[in-house]
């Protein structure tokens, strides 16, 4: 007999986990879903964000969330530079599909190995007052190191949603991969629009990195565990739908949490693709896609 307390705790933990997955996946949803840029290096930028937060937390005791926000302009800049290199070297020449993928593989390894050389393979953690504390609601306990990331992820989702829906550049970002010449006819330079969009995508990695290292220890090669998961979330969410990405992340979070609670954590890694395959069989455009 399944204990209701256990079930409730597993569902709550899954929702919180899902919120965090959304934060990690939103950047992919923008780059892959809206720009057609297969940035498999996104998770490694999340890890880079974790290390930026780790360094400032250890040196100055800066709160991880504050540190994550402080670094967003730097990550935005990194995103713009990476996209420019990608654009000039591949996209402009129409070689983005295969060589572009190889390019991002290269970026992944350079960042990962760079971090390993600088900080070693030790697991890194951050300190904050609320890490290790929890709230209790009857039988359900909510760890603050999971609740805070989920709340931050909800806010991040809202900000991105509003930005894409309500600003001129935001709408241009949504349009750019549908017809870039038509976008030029609206008076927008598609390359600049993609600069901004990719910059924003990478900027979210800084914040997601802060959330990652708040939840648990981080080491450079961990990014690979997230590659499959974030793409599963982005596709399930309907390629570029911000709200869809959040909901897809929560669905996968809950499914993983239930799986590891009742069938063991070894199965949890298979969940994201399992859910994705099931969903695509029913709705090929993703749960919230057009």
């Amino acid at each position: 007999m399944v204990s209701l307390d256990l079930l409730a705790n597993a569902v709550v933990a899954g929702i919180l986990l899902g919120g965090f997955y959304a934060a990690v996946s939103l950047g992919v949803s923008i780059a892959f879903g809206l720009l057609d840029v297969v940035n498999i290096a996104h998770p490694v930028f999340v890890i880079l964000g974790s290390y930026a937060v780790y360094v400032t937390n250890t040196a100055f005791g800066l709160d991880p969330i504050v540190a994550g926000i402080v670094f967003t302009p730097v990550f935005y800049g990194i995103g713009v530079v990476v996209y420019r290199i990608y654009y000039v070297s591949f996209e402009k020449k129409g070689q983005e599909s295969l060589r572009g993928l190889v390019f991002f593989f290269g970026v992944l390894f350079i960042v990962e190995v760079g971090l390993t050389l600088k900080y070693g393979v030790d697991y890194r953690l951050v300190e904050a007052q609320y890490i290790g504390e929890s709230l209790r609601f009857g039988p359900v306990g909510i760890a603050l190191r999971l609740l805070v990331p989920c709340v931050v992820a909800v806010l991040l989702t809202l900000v991105l949603y509003l930005y894409l829906a309500k600003t001129f550049v935001g709408r241009a970002i949504k349009a750019v991969s549908q017809d870039s010449l038509a976008l030029r006819l609206m008076g927008a330079d598609p390359v600049k629009v993609k600069d901004v969009a990719f910059g924003i995508a990478i900027a979210t990695a800084s914040l997601a990195g802060a959330l990652l290292i708040m939840i648990g220890p981080v080491e450079p090669s961990m990014n690979r565990e997230y590659i499959g998961r974030v793409f599963a979330v982005a596709v399930l969410g309907g390629m570029g739908s911000i709200g869809g990405t959040f909901l897809a992340a929560v669905i996968i979070g809950v499914a993983e949490s239930l799986t590891s609670t009742f069938f063991g954590p070894s199965w949890a890694v298979a969940v994201s693709f399992g859910v994705l395959l099931l969903a695509l069989a029913v709705r090929p455009a993703g749960l919230f896609g057009s």
Binding site: Y119, Y123, L144, G216
Partner: protein, 190 residues
């Protein structure tokens, strides 16, 4: 409650134990990660009461000749090399392995693997982790995996982990340096 985990889950387990207010009689076992500075200096007081395996800790019972000098040299280079700044967990053993090999080669004056191996099986060696002797199955004659309890940790400062009394050896009997605080919750409060 016995936990066997790799570093990411170790940190998760320790944090979760505090989040859910876990109060078992004992807590710990085979958690990888509670031996290096990167986790010790982040978990700090949350470690109190945990009983976990380790290989070397700075307790008076484990101060063998040469270990101080070794750690001094290691720690001086550790920060610039980007490796564990304490170097308690694996480096002393790694150094001891090479001491064993070196002494065996010197004693046999040979590089023949068979001769060196036969010597290692029979002889006793003086290393920075104490006297080493192997049994017939190739393992140490007497197990040297320690069980230590985290006690009296008040901050996340790294220096405290270089002092005795923070990771008290409970087992093996020969190296015991303190007494178990039991149950877990009692050590946790201290």
């Amino acid at each position: 409650m016995a936990v066997y985990s790799y570093p990411p889950d170790t940190a998760g387990m320790v944090l979760a134990a505090h989040e859910v207010g876990l109060r078992p009689k004992m807590f710990g076992g085979g958690m990888v990660g509670l031996q290096f500075a990167s986790l010790l200096t982040k978990l700090g007081p949350k470690l109190n009461g945990i009983v976990n395996y380790d290989f070397w800790v700075p307790e008076p019972t484990l101060r063998f000749p040469g270990i101080e000098d070794f750690l001094q040299r290691y720690q001086a280079k550790a920060s610039s090399a980007g490796v564990d700044p304490l170097g308690h967990y694996l480096p002393p053993w790694a150094y001891a392995y090479l001491q064993v090999l070196g002494q065996a080669i010197e004693a046999t004056k040979s590089l023949d693997q068979q001769i060196v191996a036969d010597y290692i099986r029979k002889a006793e060696f003086d290393t920075i982790v104490g006297k080493v002797r192997f049994g017939s199955n190739g393992e140490w004659l007497q197990s040297r995996v320690l069980q230590v309890q985290f006690q009296g940790i008040e901050t996340t400062d790294i220096e405290q982990f270089k002092q005795p009394g923070k990771r008290v050896v409970l087992y093996p009997e020969k190296f015991k340096s303190g007494t178990l605080i039991y149950p877990y919750s009692k050590a946790k409060i201290q």
